[in-house]
Symmetry: C2
Subunit: 237 residues, 2 copies
C-alpha cells in the first residue's frame, strides 16, 4: 500500500488536505479515487490508515481512520559522509534511510571534490526512501560542514565509528559494542589525508574499524558499515 | 595505480600486447607513456607490476616486471539474485565484485520482471569493479535461469542463505556459521511467491535469514547480506 510522509498532526477522525505534489501523485499518477486507502505518517504520531474523502485536481482530502502502528524510535545513529559525486551521494542518502540512520551529515574533507550540494533534494530522497522502506520517521539531512567544524561541535557522549581503510583497525563487528548514540564516518573516495587520520584516531570517542580486505567505493562502505552496526548493536538483532 | 585484468599468462620477463580497448584506455584516456607502470592480473598468476614498453595507436605493449602479490582465492560465495531492473542489477554486480563474491547467478522467479539481460555487459562491469577494488580474480556472471532449474541443478554441499523478508527467520549473523561453499539468495522487489517460499524453506541446504525490520530494495539487500556473510564467516574476520 502507498505510504506518504505528511506534516499534519494525525489522530482518529482528522480530515486534512494534502499538498499539491502529493495530491497529484495520488490522483494523476496512482489513479486513486474516493474510498481508496493509503498509509500516512509524520514522524511523531505513528502510522495511520487514511481514506480518500475527496479528489480534486489540485487537492486530495484524506480522512484519518485508524492507527496501524504507534510511533517508535529507531537507534540514535548518524551517518557522517564525506561529499562524493551527486549520484553516489543520492544513493547513500537513500540507503541511509533504508538502513535506519537518524541523520545524514555530509562533511567536507581535504580530498573532497565538493560540487554544490542540494540538501533539499537529498532530503526529498530521504523522504521517498523512508516511505518505501516502512519506517516511521525520516532521517534529517544536514548542511555540509568541514571536518574540523564537525569535530569541534561534537555532541558529548556520541561515539564515532571511523571506517579507516588504510589501517590496522579491527573489523566493525569487533570494534562496536554497547548502545547509546553513535555516528559512522565514511571518508571520501581518495581517503582521508594522513593529518586527518591522525586527528580522527586521537579523538577519545572514536573507534577505528576496517571494512575488509578490498577497496570499497563510498556508497558500498556506507551501506556495509550501517549494516554491520545495525546487526551488532542496532535494531537488526 | 591503474589495474588491468588481462587474459595473458603472467611471468617475469614476459612481453605482451594489450587488446585495442585496453590499449586505447592507457594511451588515449590515461595518457600513459613508455616507461610508466601499471598493475595487471589474470585470475591465475597473482598481481604483477608491468611497464609500458611501446605505445602505438592501437596496441600498447607491456613488459611484465615483478610479482606484487601471489594468487589467492577468496571465499567460495555465490550471489543468486532475482532479476531486477537493469540499473539496479548493474549496481548489484558491481557490489558483488567489491564484496568478494565468486559468482553472480541471475535467477528468474514468479514475480520477476525480466527485461532482456545482457550478461556480457554485466561481466564487463564485474571486470571493472574487480580492477578497482583490488581483488585478484573476477566474479563470473552466469546466464539467468529459472528458480526451479537452479534448485534442480544445485551443487552438492553448497549451503544457501535465503534472505526471507516475510518471515520469522533469524538475523543473518545468527543464521550463518561454518565455512565451505555458500550462496546468498536475494528475491525480486515483489518478494517470492508463497509457493516459492515454501519450496525454498524445505530445501535441506537452505537457511532462512532476515535483514532487519525495514523493507530493503534488492540492491541494498544484496550488499547487506554479502557484508554480513563476509563479516561472520568470510574474509572480513
Amino acid at each position: 500500500m502507498i505510504r506518504l510522509f505528511i506534516p499534519h498532526d494525525l489522530a482518529a477522525g482528522a480530515r486534512l488536505d494534502l499538498d499539491e505534489g502529493q495530491s497529484r501523485y495520488l490522483a494523476a499518477v496512482m489513479r486513486k479515487a474516493v474510498g481508496d486507502a493509503v498509509l500516512v505518517f509524520n514522524g511523531r504520531d505513528g502510522e495511520w490508515r487514511a481514506v480518500l474523502a475527496a479528489v480534486g485536481k489540485r487537492v486530495v482530502t484524506l480522512d484519518i481512520a485508524a492507527q496501524i502502528r504507534p510511533q517508535a524510535t529507531g537507534p540514535d545513529l548518524d551517518l557522517v559522509i564525506a561529499l562524493v559525486k551527486r549520484a553516489r551521494l543520492e544513493t547513500i542518502v537513500e540507503k541511509a534511510a533504508e538502513l535506519g540512520a537518524r541523520r545524514v551529515r555530509p562533511v567536507i574533507t581535504e580530498r573532497t571534490n565538493a560540487d554544490h550540494t542540494r540538501v533539499d533534494r537529498l532530503q526529498a530522497i530521504a523522504v521517498e526512501a523512508s516511505e518505501q522502506t516502512g519506517r516511521l520517521d525520516v532521517p534529517e539531512v544536514l548542511e555540509p560542514v568541514k571536518l574540523e567544524k564537525l569535530i569541534s561541535g561534537w555532541e558529548s557522549g556520541r561515539r564515532l565509528l571511523f571506517c579507516d581503510e588504510a589501517g590496522d583497525a579491527k573489523p566493525v563487528l569487533e570494534a562496536v559494542g554497547g548502545g547509546g548514540a553513535w555516528a559512522i564516518l565514511i571518508g571520501p573516495e581518495g581517503g582521508f589525508s594522513p593529518a586527518e587520520r591522525d586527528r580522527l584516531r586521537a579523538l577519545p570517542y572514536a573507534t577505528p574499524a576496517t571494512l575488509g580486505p578490498r577497496i570499497l567505493r563510498a556508497d558500498t562502505a556506507a551501506i556495509s558499515a550501517l549494516t554491520l552496526w545495525q546487526a551488532a548493536v542496532g535494531d537488526w538483532r
